[in-house]
Symmetry: D2
Subunit: 356 residues, 4 copies
């Protein structure tokens, strides 16, 4: 059961603090016989590596993953797969102010209330670096669902949205923003750079699409595919909203506008629309799964904000150290990883109950 | 583990088909010694009883709950609490068309793909009537968290939103829409009535607030309070989006606009804002928890929509039978129930790990 | 997670007090499309029905099961299956002494220590009647594993063991003791009758064999087949010991005596022995699974035993009411049911991870 | 859920193959604020270190544990605790014969049937070295239950039992057998030495006592304390039987002989006997918990046993390499660790549901 594991059949547990010696994940329930090596996982970590561009954190990390168990002769054995990434670049001295006062918007105050004390070094366990473990685990999940294609991208930063008329998937890897609209990417250079220099931060929206999910995956109620995806995405640091298909826009539509009509097709019905975003009644319809995730702006900013110290006195806080002006950008590989992890789990659950 | 249970320590399993003999829930993990009787549960069910107004379904139901176990001498025993509601009003004959063709937007097609066949009577398990079980279970949860106050309301129907300047909580129980804005309630009478007569349907947005949640509840990562709430709300029939605090709006804010500053206060810090919606880093901050849920418009409409039959031929479908023109309205007690269920679970989880 | 559910994929939750209005079980994770009706379940309940012979409890019960959900057109739908058995024969008045004092060997004292009070009527939740729910759930499990043959029998009562040289499986249903040795059955008539008239009680050993379990079911460590079976059997009321294969006897053997040699065979290896009892390293070997379960003598006896009242004063207690002189006998269908439930779960787990 | 984790609230997941680079465990759900360091864990590992005497395996191992997460400033943070032990002494070359044929009694054949192939190096995941992870996790568990005293000892080897009249707990650490009877320890020197030189192996019985467990821990049905203990012990490599209190002997007793009478006492009742072994109805009675575990003789012996190769041909197998003539001896710290792990979990579960 525990509270730091996710998934039911394909289950992973992450561990590690941002400024501890290492972070990692144990992936359990992986089918045996799948090809897996560090080379299958590393590229996904490199996608998220800080220092790639000036727009993300200035920490220099190798983020090199090791597989410590669960693989033999290049194939998964079916036993737990332990992944570890050593922390090679840590600067605790940037956090001296933080030990004394609570960063507004951070989990500091809540942590103290829960545990009585907190590990103030960096973000402790709620740090964005923990997501490296998830990205590594997500790479293992992809091996379970090789026929599913997953990609995510940023569709808006700080309220500035892409133009879907300019959508070009090939652009996603061509700029530092995972942006599919070249013009928006150009605007965002200035937008994010300005925010960084001002010591401010920006929110973002990330969209994710998964194609090739067979109709039938998902369970009708609590292990509903959209329910699990919502939990998975909301568990990502800084996420404050999740929607599937038309999402909140559906609330303004009428039934006949929101319906996804079907026509006969060669291999089963052809859908004429996908307002549902690929999921109906908690089960995949076979259409691409589409979801959107809202990232709030980073709470670690250089503009003073009123707060209190641990003893209760008033204080201003400026969070020094190195931070992302827009964590949503780095959220893209994490969103993809969580999509993969949920789908791998759902595939096994479906197989357990319905065979094949 | 199973796939039809929700919660980790305070756990409930629902069962029952919309047109079967009964529906129910088994609630497990309830602390012993709490006062509980049918009289504590029935009012919550009555809130959602169809036929209350002409704006909801015309099914006449007693929706009378029985407690079959787990209570002795008016107090919970700590053993599983079995709740049952018998289905007294079923009309299967309205569904003859449905057996042959897939209702677009319904789970019919997906169900068939998963299970090979489906129980076509009404909504089967994905029907809104299943939510009666949840509301009953939610009433038990409230007994676990007596100091938490939960209320929900509809903030928009079909794109027509309330005016927060007119917000009056006392209005919520005074109209058929759980609407806190008397003027909006008046507009919605016509809006919903028109939709019903046209055989169409409308989406809605429901907001829920929980006050009195102590700072500290929640776990930092996967049993994150917001993560669990997202899963819980997304599991409600017809929900397509969930957001906490500023939600998707936060994506357009800058860090200094989204921060929740703190000042020293008599019993711990006083927060000057609540953009986070009461949850930071997965843990309750002590501020009111605020979330918003998007309901799509009902797929059961009388306007013909293209679909296919089970054999793959083209067909038009009109879903006869009795339906809600706006399921979001009936979602209000369900949203409250899910909020209670998650918070009860989180309270016990917190107590397990951190004592008190 | 909860604490009153068992199983991971094929999961059941039982509910109900011995003297409440009903008892039942919710079975979740059952594959869809399996034939199931009350007629498939009732016979297994009848096997355990009290009043069948003078050697078991004198309570007259219909023990009639109803399926309230999860079945349509005679086949499982894949949704939770709710089973209910109404309690038609309850005599609370026999328990007036019990409310005041603790029955030694019963859970009374422990219950009070845990919950602060207890439902003194009959055995409450720890009563043998709860096992009716398990037997019903076990019948559903059998539908999942139709190729597995399971049978159990009593191999000793009160220290008087069967003679394996006289073993005749056909005898098991021919006497009130589920005894495969006709001579032992005759001796046991007197043994048990004497104990009943003396107001005493006897322990028993039950053995269970499951054939047709394919090699491969089970997971190597914590969901080990023998581990799960041990938990399942130990959870049965009055069980104090479980062993697999040679069990405790293996502790006295040497390695070469305990080994199960293999020879080549037409469809894979032929085993020359089965000391392991069908399970090695937590995984089924394909040989019959053999286990033995020790039942202690009933604590509800008519011979006075020293105890204390709730207030702490000395007292003698005689447990009036109607009781089994040997609960082990009635344990036979329960042991079979638990075997079926664990194997069904293991089959689905194996299918989830390894396909086919 | 997963299949390689144990526990519900205090949950641990082990990983690592005997001949992989490392083994480890992730412990989740540990309360925050408990003192913990490597120095708290290492002694328990040293107790089980091979090479301590000539009677156990001749592998030389440092078995040095590192804490990689979950601890800050010498106290647990409440976040997952990752423990790692690097494998420094591996000799794969001893296992060349093993790759080709199945070791009778080992999991080899079953593994192949399940996974299609196996990691033949040493025992893979079912090896006794995996238990080092458990012992490390058990040390963390002890921090959760500081008032509980746990000790285990060997009570019989190869059928040669201790004399309880000679029982002296102080002897347990004074001989290589964890034997509380000095005379038996002397006999066992010869017994085990002879077996080792003959290339044979011996079974053993280990007993474990836990004192200071408050009445009330445990849940009445499936998370029953004895049920969880049975699962925990049966999951240990080579265990084939578990019993609580009188265990199998209770099957031969009469009710009045098996009862545990109570008298009034200063702090609640005084028990006059403990046939139940400290657990009644799945809940701790406050009396010492007593259980017995049966270890079968090692399957890795030097006496040829008939087997088959992977291709199905007849073969004789001699398992070279270094092995325990009696794995039960090394089972003692593991049994203690599992007792601690289950009790820690039960403590948190009880606290979750019943407070304090």
């Amino acid at each position: 059961m525990s509270v730091n594991s996710f998934g039911r059949m394909f289950r992973f547990t992450t561990w590690g603090e941002s400024h501890g010696p290492a972070i990692g994940a144990v992936v359990d329930g992986c089918p045996p016989g799948l090809p897996l090596s560090e080379a299958d996982i590393q590229p996904w970590l490199d996608l998220r590596k800080p220092g790639t561009s000036k727009f993300t954190t200035q920490r220099r990390e190798a983020d090199e993953v090791r597989i410590l168990s669960g693989v033999f002769d290049g194939r998964t054995t079916g036993t737990p797969i332990s992944l570890m990434i050593e922390n090679t670049d840590q600067r605790s001295k940037d956090y001296s102010d933080v030990a004394k006062a609570y960063r507004p918007g951070h989990a500091d105050y809540a942590y103290d209330a829960k545990y009585g004390f907190r590990d103030y070094r960096g973000g402790g366990r709620s740090s964005a670096r923990e997501t490296a473990s998830r990205v590594a685990a997500g790479a293992v999940a992809r091996a379970v669902i090789p026929d599913v294609d997953i990609f995510a991208y940023v569709s808006a930063i700080g309220g500035d949205a892409i133009d879907y008329a300019n959508f070009d998937a090939a652009q996603i890897g061509q700029n530092p923003f995972f942006c599919p609209d070249a013009e928006a990417a150009t605007r965002w250079e200035k937008l994010v750079d300005d925010a960084r220099r001002e010591g401010s931060s920006l929110g973002a929206i990330v969209e994710c699409v998964a194609s090739g999910v067979p109709a039938g995956w998902g369970a009708p109620l609590y292990a509903k595919l959209d329910s699990e995806l919502a939990a998975a995405m909301m568990s990502i640091n800084a996420v404050k909203g999740v929607e599937i298909g038309d999402g909140f826009a559906a609330a303004s539509l009428r039934g006949e506008q929101n319906a996804d009509p079907m026509r006969p097709g060669p291999d089963g019905p052809t859908f004429l629309a996908n307002h549902a975003g690929g999921i109906a009644g908690g089960i995949a319809t076979g259409q691409p799964i589409k979801l959107r995730v809202a990232f709030k702006p980073t709470s670690s900013i250089l503009i003073p904000v009123e707060t209190v110290t641990r003893e209760g006195a008033a204080s201003d806080i400026i969070t020094k150290g190195r931070h992302d002006p827009c964590v949503g950008i780095r959220g893209v590989p994490v969103v993809e990883a969580m999509m993969a992890l949920v789908l791998a789990d759902q595939k096994l659950l479906h197989r357990a109950q319905c065979g094949e």
